[in-house]
């Protein structure tokens, strides 16, 4: 015989929990706008490094442009992953989130959404400018933000799993790259190749479909992995 639990006091709605955590993280970011702008500058600077290192060969730059922009975006998104849970871990709010009455994967999803809005979305918006500077074909000016939007979202989802696994570790920052980058290869491959295909005038549907499917898979599975990882890391 299992004893019955008495009815719980009315719980807050799921949507309220999601929005509250999202709102909180965005508010916090607004207090420190530098944290949002740094990855963006990093993205721009890395994209500038390649022409300087390789030389002003327009043909070559046009060929490597999609790959360079994608690698730069990947590294820029990686830059801000370390801090996703670090602040919450240090001031004890993570404990409160772990013990909240809302399902943890939902809270994690809200934090991931905040991370994407703050680190992925700015890159998506700026990417056509960078693509222009590499003199990519007009078609890729559309393909670039579309693939980056799907790709950076997947990256945030997967990256947050690794961030949860390394939160509270001393050398977590270097480890984070080692954990995330191999997992991010499919996104990089499809993203960069799709932009290349667009630049050479080919169809981009296959790549966009793949990135969309990958993103859907990540949305479904990653929050559960992150939730499990957070509970383990916070012991």
């Amino acid at each position: 015989m299992t004893p019955d639990l008495p009815p719980l006091p009315p719980l807050p709605r799921l949507r309220d929990g999601l929005l509250a955590v999202l709102r909180r993280d965005l508010l916090l970011a607004m207090q420190r706008p530098g944290d949002v702008l740094n990855p963006l500058f990093f993205f721009a600077v890395v994209s500038t490094l390649f022409p300087l290192a390789i030389g002003p060969d327009a043909e070559l730059l046009r060929a490597i442009g999609p790959g360079v922009v994608w690698v730069a975006a990947l590294l820029a998104a990686l830059l801000s992953l370390h801090s996703v849970f670090l602040g919450d871990f240090e001031d004890g709010s993570l404990e409160q989130l772990l013990l909240s009455a809302q399902p943890l994967p939902l809270i994690v999803l809200a934090k991931t959404a905040a991370h994407w809005l703050l680190s992925g979305l700015p890159l998506v918006i700026v990417s056509p400018v960078i693509a222009l500077s590499y003199d990519l074909a007009p078609a890729s000016l559309v393909a670039m933000p579309v693939t980056l939007a799907l790709g950076t979202a997947s990256l945030s989802l997967i990256g947050v799993v690794a961030a949860a696994l390394t939160v509270g570790l001393n050398r977590g920052n270097a480890l984070l790259g080692l954990l995330v980058l191999p997992l991010a290869m499919p996104v990089l491959i499809f993203g960069a190749r799709t932009v290349s295909l667009a630049a050479s005038g080919d169809g981009i549907a296959a790549g966009v479909y793949f990135l969309g499917a990958y993103c859907m898979l990540a949305v479904t599975l990653a929050p559960f992995a992150t939730a499990a990882a957070l509970r383990i890391s916070n012991e």
Partner: protein, 204 residues
């Protein structure tokens, strides 16, 4: 009758070291469990095990007779945790912090302003938490306890950083919570003043 909160055979290792082993207790509504012990005796770890933050290596914690690992959500909805760290965002104001809190757990139908007045926080609600002293931040943690609608309070060293008035306040709040049919587990190296029955658990 099943106890509100009970545990049996709780044991925890940290690497090589056994922090504690074979801890058991049963706590009914209106009672207080005081976890005592010297620094480093595992008080905080035991409290974290009870809260479900740490998986014990042996034994289990049961809420109304059900293993908390299998009924995490209803257990979490019934408890308030107050740890070493206050658990508020330093860049946000008290009001903003509590606003997020509202969406995360059941909230008592209490007058928020009255709670602030009672805890001497009334003038501070629009300042960022950073501007508050350590003792005032502790009081914010108390405000969260009062506003949360939870039967079980888990308090880890609640007297830290508080002045004499604050300490008296903690005693008073715990008393009221127990009178209202709640239960409390407290880790403290100093006793608590309450008329309600106290169970003691000593870690050595």
């Amino acid at each position: 009758m099943t106890a509100l909160l009970s545990a049996s055979g709780l044991g925890l290792f940290r690497g090589e070291r056994r922090l504690f082993g074979d801890i058991g207790f049963a706590l009914n509504a209106g009672n207080l469990l005081l976890v005592e012990g010297a620094n480093g005796s595992g008080k905080t770890s035991l409290l974290r095990v009870i809260a479900g933050l740490v998986e014990p290596d042996t034994g289990s914690v049961r809420w109304r007779g059900l293993d908390v690992r299998d009924h995490r959500q209803s257990y979490c909805a019934s408890l308030m945790w107050s740890g070493h760290k206050v658990g508020c965002k330093q860049d946000l104001t008290l009001i903003e912090n509590l606003r997020c809190e509202r969406a995360l757990r059941p909230i008592a139908a209490r007058d928020q302003q009255a709670v602030f007045r009672r805890l001497d926080l009334a003038g501070l609600t629009d300042l960022p938490m950073r501007a508050l002293s350590a003792g005032q931040q502790r009081r914010v943690a108390l405000a969260r306890l009062l506003l949360g609608n939870a039967e079980l309070w888990l308090l880890d060293e609640p007297f830290t950083n508080l002045d004499a008035g604050g300490e008296a306040l903690v005693n008073q709040l715990v008393d009221e919570h127990l009178d209202a049919g709640g239960a409390c587990v407290m880790a403290s190296h100093r006793g608590v003043a309450t008329d309600r029955p106290i169970e003691r658990l000593s870690l050595s």
